[in-house]
């Protein structure tokens, strides 16, 4: 059954960003994160903003989607803005310097959220998992099972819609037996959800067990052929662009 995709979930499309290699996108996202948090001046942040604007345009993501993505963090962001701006010690009032400092922090976070949204909505879960694995590859040296981590991530991403489906079915079954899951104040509601959790968790453990069997039935051992080909020229260009952008943001005064 098709349900509307969750925010940040993969959306099929044929934009230039969809066509980029996942490794390039993950690398660019990491570079942009370094650039956004390391930028020393407004000029640096503006440069990263320019890159974000380019990414949004190239992936046909609306700025509204970015705002929606920021919504869960809204309270914390506005609080940090206020906390920086309001001076209580000494002479109480509004500090413009503090406000700017707070605004800068908010802008940094917005930049990263926007780019992360672009990456996650244009990359299929398995490609994203493989992209992360590629970027993590150096950790192999210190004994991190990179292939396993990537598969685990891919399976987890696959399980999200399944789990949602399961919760929905259990809820329906319990409602039909007269459970009042949304009634009775906070305690009642929590108890109601606990009731949904029991069969959900039992079910998920069984499913996980069965899936593990299914994986070893298909000879899964931990290492897999990488399906990523050599990076195309455009992938290299995008990485280079973000590398230069991030470097400039770090040095621009």
């Amino acid at each position: 059954m098709t349900r509307p995709g969750a925010l940040g979930g993969y959306v099929r499309g044929d934009t230039p960003v969809h066509a980029l290699d996942a490794r390039a996108k993950v690398a660019a996202l990491i570079l942009a994160t370094v650039g956004s948090f390391g930028a020393r001046s407004w000029a640096g942040l503006a440069l990263m903003g320019l890159l974000l604007a380019g990414a949004l345009a190239a992936s046909r993501t609306t700025p509204r989607a970015v705002l929606r993505g920021l919504r869960p963090a809204l309270v914390i962001l506005s609080f940090s803005l206020l906390a920086n701006a309001v001076v209580l010690v000494g002479q109480p009032g509004i500090s413009w310097e503090g406000l700017l400092r707070g605004a800068r922090a908010v802008v940094r976070i917005a930049l990263v959220v926007g780019l992360a949204l672009v990456v996650s909505s244009t990359t299929t879960p398995p490609a994203l998992a493989e992209g992360l694995a590629a970027v993590m590859a150096p950790l192999r040296v210190v004994g991190v099972p990179v292939g396993g981590v990537s598969t685990a991530l891919s399976v987890a991403l696959r399980s999200i819609p399944l789990t949602m489906e399961e919760i929905e079915r259990i809820r329906c079954a319990q409602l039909a037996r007269g459970a009042r899951l949304d009634a009775g104040g906070v305690v009642g509601r929590l108890r109601g959800w606990g009731q949904v959790l029991v069969p959900l968790i039992v079910g998920l453990f069984r499913r996980a067990d069965e899936l593990a069997r299914a994986m070893s039935d298909r000879c899964y051992t931990g290492e897999q052929t990488s399906m990523a080909g050599p990076l195309a020229l455009r992938d290299g260009l995008v990485i280079a662009l973000f590398a230069v952008g991030a470097a400039l943001a770090l040095v621009l005064w």
Binding site: M1, T2, R3, P4, G5, Y10, R12, T124, P125, P126, A127, S154, V155, L157, R158, P161, L162, E166, R169, I170, R171, C172, A173, Q174, L175, A176, R177, G178, A179, R180, Q195, V196, V198, P199, V202, G203, R206, R207, E210, L211, R213, A214, M215, S216, D217, R218, C219, Y220, T221, E223, Q224, T225, S226, M227, G229
Partner: protein, 529 residues
């Protein structure tokens, strides 16, 4: 040749597979039938190495005691529920999973993915998300994932039991193509259709597969049918009657050829006439649950478009997957708010709790600490009186054959069959005026399916309205009063069951493949006129 010699295996203290021997040669299709819990699945899993036998040996192409990876590579395994088999969120990537594990080169992996998707008819869906596919497509995808490993043997563990008739036929075509290429197939099945075209039929009996010979020998023997449980299946019994009057089962069940060997409608009514159609009632008495101008939309997908229908007596909701029947069931039960319209029970809007709702998997509806508390939950919510609730629970437990010795156990520790009875008792204990059963018989053996038909009939004669959503229309029709056909979120036809069970055209108009029993009844009826 894939061979098991004197294998003992099982999960619990008592092994369910006891000294089993069987073999599957390349290009052979061996069908294993038997009741739920007889050890068929465990034996199937021994053959691909996912269950280690406690005693006995496996022989793979002449080599005794192959290691797990060798077995897994040579023997593909397809489960009943594709959701437990699909690993990836993306169709192509799912098919690539096996070949990638084999460490094949990238080009080889891509080549195999293309080939497996083409063989299963999924080529156009390669870039889709797996969760977007219908249940039937997901099962074909699971098969594609196994084919991409190019196994020499294939084990299908009730792989068709959750599929509609059209997808089952497609799966049978895929298997035929594999057999022609020399793949050896072991098929564990509950449906009599699977027996057709088998090289050999085995009946699981007391933990051991007993050879029942060619399909004709098996289907012609009452004793073997009884042992496999299939004597309780209306279609299997009709084929049995046909074989006794000279019908020779071919590669597939051919309704036309079989009908010529049937003496009359009595042959379609089961061994003891249990599946005789119900007398035509004008309108079943008792309550009725209705949908009135109901529309439901998920995102931009219209699941139900302005649907009005009435459920009274036993009413079947039929349609291909994605036709909106499950959504209709949830709205009927009052657990899903429609975007427009309403569900009404005897004219009043349905509130959750008015209508009992049972799903295919009992695990989805159990949650209490003990069996008795679980069964008593519905009545307790309804009356708020613990004593009366427990009384109602005991009554329901007795009706459904849940023994008192289980009352204090956790419902999650029970066997599959017991769990199902507890779940049904929990729904029935609140004595709702109406019920919705969503795929109640998928994956059940013939005796359990028959018991469920009996239960539903008993609920209806007790005055309840029952909606049954099912892929197995053939058997249910004889227990039903009315049938509603759905297609793409709209009602395409409504008919009394007495008419639908001899009207294959009603099924075709809805995009469904008519069940064999319906085709047979139409043919037998026509001959007589």
């Amino acid at each position: 040749m894939l061979e098991a010699r004197g294998v003992w295996a099982g999960y619990g203290a008592e092994p369910v597979v006891r000294g089993a021997s069987l073999c599957v040669a390349p290009g052979e299709r061996v069908v294993l039938v038997g009741r739920n819990g007889s050890g068929k699945s465990t034996l199937a899993r021994v053959l691909n190495g996912s269950v280690r036998p406690r005693r006995g040996t496996l022989v793979l192409d002449g080599a005794a005691g192959p290691v797990r990876t060798e077995l897994a590579r040579a023997v593909g395994f397809v489960r009943q529920d594709p959701r437990n088999q699909i690993v990836s969120a993306l169709v192509e990537d799912e098919v690539a999973f096996g070949p990638r594990n084999l460490g094949l080169a990238r080009e080889e992996v891509s080549e195999r993915v293309r080939e497996a998707l083409a063989a299963t008819g999924l080529s156009s869906l390669g870039g889709r998300m797996t969760s977007e596919l219908s249940g039937g497509q997901q099962q074909l995808l699971a098969v594609a994932g196994v084919l991409a490993m190019r196994p020499r043997y294939l084990v299908l563990d009730e792989a068709g039991s959750q599929l509609d008739e059209a997808t089952r036929a497609r799966l049978a075509d895929i298997v035929d193509a594999l057999l022609a290429r020399g793949v050896g197939v072991l098929e564990v099945a509950h449906a009599p259709e699977a027996v057709f075209g088998a090289t050999r039929v085995l009946v699981m009996s007391e933990g051991t597969p007993v050879c029942a010979g060619a399909p004709r020998d098996f289907l012609g023997s009452e004793e073997l049918l009884v042992r496999s449980g299939l004597s309780d299946d209306a279609l299997a019994w009709a084929v049995h009657e046909g074989v006794r009057s000279g019908y020779v089962p071919g590669r597939r069940l051919d309704a036309g050829a079989l009908a010529e060997h049937l003496s009359g409608e009595a042959d379609l009514e089961g061994r003891d006439g249990f599946f005789a159609p119900r007398a035509v009632a004008c309108a079943p008495a008792g309550p009725s649950v209705d949908l009135r101008d109901v529309s439901v939309t998920y995102g931009d997908v219209r699941a139900l478009a302005d649907v009005s229908l009435a459920v009274s007596g036993v009413t079947l909701l039929l349609g291909v997957s994605g036709s909106g029947k499950t959504t209709a069931g949830r709205v009927l039960a009052g657990v899903q708010e429609p975007d427009e319209g309403e569900a009404a029970l005897d004219g009043r809007p349905v509130v959750p709790g008015d209508v009992g709702l049972a799903f295919q998997r009992p695990e989805d509806q159990l949650f209490a600490d003990t069996v008795l508390d679980d069964i008593a939950y519905g009545p307790l919510m309804r009356t708020g009186d613990a004593e009366r609730a427990h009384e109602a629970a005991r009554r329901a437990a007795e009706t459904l054959g849940v023994g008192e010795e289980l009352f204090e156990q956790s419902p999650f520790e029970l066997s599959g069959g017991q769990m199902r009875r507890v779940a049904l008792a929990g729904v029935a204990a609140a004595e709702p005026a109406a019920y919705v059963f969503d795929e109640p018989t998928a994956g059940l053996d013939a005796p359990s399916r028959r018991a469920l038909l009996e239960l539903v009939r008993a609920l209806a004669s007790g005055g309840a309205a029952v909606a049954v959503i099912t892929h197995d229309a053939g058997e249910w029709l004889s227990a039903a009063d009315r049938v509603v056909f759905l297609r793409q979120g709209s009602v395409t036809a409504e008919a009394p069951a007495a008419r639908a069970l001899a009207a294959p055209e009603l099924f075709r108009e809805t995009g469904l493949r008519p069940p064999a029993l319906v085709e047979l009844r139409a043919l037998v009826g026509r001959d007589r006129d």
